[in-house]
């Protein structure tokens, strides 16, 4: 029967796998193939050039800068976003003081309201968020500098996106703002499934909020955090970082290459400079970075699963 069972499973898998191979795997293979050509993207003529694109990439300062920024995005953004989201989710679900007659485990006052508010940015498309923040960062009449003026900090009027030392951080802050709400909701759901008696036991033993968080909440939430980590990292390497950098920054990618990221560079090479083959070469580098990131997170994050 064993044989028949596999045939049965394969029957169900054939169509989705076929679609997957056609629309996901095949384009990947094509891209890798094009990275060995001199294809411009504007004509069907091209020829093989071997590793030319790769050696060129290794000598390309802008490529290294974009790689550096992408890595910074991939490492820092998940850390900040998930850390912040965990804190907020904990305060909403567990962190409240015990009120008379209420349940043992509860969030801070008004937590259901916060939960909704934090999710708001998720409703807006990233392009709109980026545009709104581009206005907010306007040094002349934007919201941020107006607030600074309003509280008497007239001398502190940074250029934000116009300052190479600040631009990258300004962009990252937007990504954190727009994604943190999603993870608050995700972690809230995870926390809701942790049995209350574990918390009660910890409370009886005299555990404070920090101990409860690190000894109970985090270990039991680890699987969710890990998938959140991978998801956030991909977001930081891929489409979301492209959208904010393309829409918000000087140039885009500037000032002086201070915000350029790999996806943006792929786009510029393919669609501005007519060098599609070189763009796919950078795409291959991006693929390697993304795979390495996913593998790293999976390996480092591996822990024994707790049953409860």
């Amino acid at each position: 029967m064993q044989h028949g069972k596999y045939r049965f499973i394969a029957g169900f898998l054939a169509v989705p796998l076929g679609l997957y191979a056609l629309f996901v795997v095949w384009p990947f293979i094509q891209s890798i193939y094009y990275s060995f050509t001199d294809w411009t993207g504007l004509s069907p003529d091209f020829k093989m050039v071997g590793f030319d694109n790769y050696s060129r990439m290794l000598d390309d300062d802008i490529f290294w800068k974009s790689l550096q920024h992408s890595l910074l995005f991939a490492l820092l953004l998940p850390l900040v976003t998930l850390g912040f989201a965990l804190f907020l989710a904990f305060m909403i679900n567990v962190g409240g003081r015990r009120r008379k007659g209420g349940p043992v485990i509860t969030g801070v006052r008004g937590s259901s309201f916060y939960k909704i508010v934090y999710f708001f940015p998720q409703v807006l498309s990233i392009a709109i968020v980026a545009l709104l923040f581009a206005f907010a960062y306007n040094p002349d009449s934007g919201a941020v500098n107006s607030v600074l003026r309003g509280i008497g900090l007239d001398s502190v009027q940074p250029l934000w996106l116009g300052d190479p030392n600040l631009a990258l951080w300004a962009v990252m802050a937007v990504l954190v703002w727009s994604t943190v709400g999603f993870f608050v909701v995700l972690f809230s759901a995870g926390m809701a499934s942790i049995p209350a008696d574990l918390y009660e036991a910890a409370l009886l033993d005299g555990a404070d909020r920090a101990t409860t968080f690190f000894r109970i909440t985090l270990p039991l939430l680890w699987d969710t955090v890990q998938s959140g980590w991978v998801y956030m990292g991909i977001l930081a390497l891929g489409a979301e970082s492209f959208a904010v950098v393309q829409i918000m920054t000087t140039g885009p990618g500037g000032p002086d290459y201070s915000t350029t990221v790999m996806v943006l560079y792929v786009y510029q090479k393919a669609f501005r400079d007519g060098q599609a083959a070189y763009a796919t070469t950078i795409g291959v580098a991006l693929l390697i970075v993304t795979l390495a990131f996913a593998a790293l997170v999976m390996r480092v994050g591996r822990r024994e699963r707790l049953e409860f």
């Binding site: 795997v25 411009t40 504007l42 306007n138 009449s141 000087t250 002086d256 007519g274 599609a276 796919t280």
Partner: protein
């Protein structure tokens, strides 16, 4: 030089791999979604070059000098941007009237590249394209890959209004040269005509009791006066500092002569180290140093800077003639928009005051692999008639490549001032080409990393010159970039 699909490896790599491995691997791949890559490669997988089914040439007559096949379909794709599509629709109607048996397939889009790139790759492009906007396809690559038809037959055809005059002789100065890349052939016809320079409100200048300055000392004096009234002298699109060259390049040309600009365009060694370049950089840097640039400008995009300028926060703005249309909703009624040729250094400048940058915009191309190239050119010939040109100018407030066509229609203040500036310039019209030839060099290297950094005070003029010369040398050496020279 095979076609894309013929060279694709047929093996997708999954054959011979165990089912379990395949599932594992696909799952691993599923984690990574690199959208750019998958949609990139989607472009290339087309058919071969569909070159065989050109429309048969029609008979050449005085009414049909290009010999258009009067039953063939003509497909026209327009960039639907600031100029809208009405002007082209009107021209299409004329084509349909002249050739009643021909079908015209007209469409307008903002996504030129996404719509047309796959069709170029398949060898089935439309007959006439307005290759413009943010999704412009790289002209250098299109020319280099022989994708464009030579427009010489159109230029040598008799014009619509006067059969004794060739189309080429009805165009404004520089239009034909701009369409050339590295030989006699003309690949592009720029339909709109843009005047670049320093834009300002005549009313604001009058309120300062000043004239537009002709030397840099006067410029600084005007800015000082404006500053006293709480108005900045200059602002510009800080996030896109490649707007600065609109007044800076013609200034370099005025100070040092056209040869300096040509040397820059030709990527000659040390072209940027010419004393004229340094003098102009220092002049601009002085605006920053003396606090004459609107505070926060390096963080403003073009719309924000234009809005601040229209509100009277700054006096001068380097820009092109589209600014009148683009900022129409923020420019006050009594603003009295005007454009001036860039201020020079002093009377020792090589060219007279009035030297201005004007050149074509809205590049129209006829693909070489189009089925009905004659039809595409005939449509262009119609658009270059006086009637069509007037229609364009009165509808979208911009000049066209047709020399004239402003009599008898009411011009807006900016347009009127642009025409006057062109009259004043006469022969002294310069046309720097970096932005068409080397987009990356002009925009992100010279613009953002050179001029932008200098005007934000993070580079001195000397450092900026050195950095920009380095960028130019890089481009001159880069084997992946096709290079051009002034003829």
């Amino acid at each position: 030089m095979g076609s894309t699909s013929a060279r694709n490896p047929e093996n997708n790599g999954s054959a011979g791999v165990g089912r379990r491995d395949l599932i594992k691997r696909s799952a691993a791949l599923g984690l990574i979604s690199v959208p750019a890559m998958s949609f990139l490669s989607a472009c290339a997988s087309g058919g071969g070059s569909g070159n065989g089914d050109k429309a048969k040439a029609g008979k050449k007559t005085s009414k049909n000098p290009l010999g258009v096949n009067d039953t063939a379909q003509m497909e026209f794709v327009l960039f639907d941007g600031g100029f809208g599509k009405e002007y082209a629709e009107d021209a299409v109607k004329v084509y349909e009237k002249n050739l009643p048996r021909a079908k015209v397939k007209f469409s307008a889009t903002q996504k030129i590249q996404s719509t047309l790139q796959p069709r170029f790759n398949q060898g089935t492009p439309p007959d006439l394209i307005d290759n413009s906007g943010a999704e412009q396809m790289d002209m250098g690559v299109l020319v280099g890959k022989n994708q464009l038809a030579d427009l010489t037959p159109l230029l040598d055809a008799p014009s619509v209004d006067d059969p004794a005059k060739k189309v080429r002789d009805t165009l404004r100065p520089g239009i034909v040269e701009m369409g050339q890349f590295d030989g006699e052939q003309v690949w592009i016809l720029y339909y709109a005509y843009t005047v670049y320079g320093v834009w300002y409100s005549q009313k604001a200048l009058d309120s300062l009791d000043e004239q537009y300055p002709q030397t840099w000392d006067q410029m600084l004096a005007v800015c000082a006066k404006a500053k006293k009234k709480g108005m900045a002298g200059w602002t510009y699109a800080g996030k896109y500092p490649y707007y600065l060259p609109f007044s800076l390049y013609p200034m370099i040309g005025k100070v040092g002569g056209v040869e300096v600009l040509d040397a820059i365009d030709n990527l000659e060694p040390n072209a940027w180290k010419h004393p004229a370049v340094k003098a102009c950089f220092e002049a601009y840097y002085e605006l920053y140093k003396k606090g004459y640039v609107l505070k926060g400008t390096p963080g403003l995009d073009h719309i924000q800077s234009q809005t601040a300028w229209a509100k009277g926060k700054a006096l001068f703005l380097p820009n092109g003639s589209w600014v009148e249309n683009e900022s129409a909703n923020v420019i006050p009624q009594d603003f009295d928009l005007a454009v001036a040729a860039p201020t020079g250094i002093d009377s020792s400048d090589k060219m007279p005051f009035g030297t201005i940058w004007a050149s074509g915009g809205e590049p129209f191309i006829v693909p070489s692999k189009a089925k009905n190239t004659e039809g595409g050119m005939e449509q262009l010939r119609i658009m270059l008639s006086e009637a069509s040109s007037k229609n364009f100018t009165s509808k979208v407030k911009s000049l066209t490549a047709y020399n004239g066509g402003t009599e008898g229609i009411t011009l807006t203040p900016g347009l009127k001032s642009g025409v006057a500036a062109l009259d004043k310039a006469g022969e002294n019209v310069v046309n720097p080409r970096l932005q068409d030839w080397y987009a990356q060099l002009q925009k992100e290297k010279i613009g953002v990393s050179g001029l932008g950094e200098m005007m934000a005070g993070r580079l001195t003029p000397a450092e900026a010159v050195k950095k920009i010369q380095g960028f130019a040398d890089e481009t001159a050496k880069d084997p992946s970039i096709k290079r051009y020279k002034h003829q």
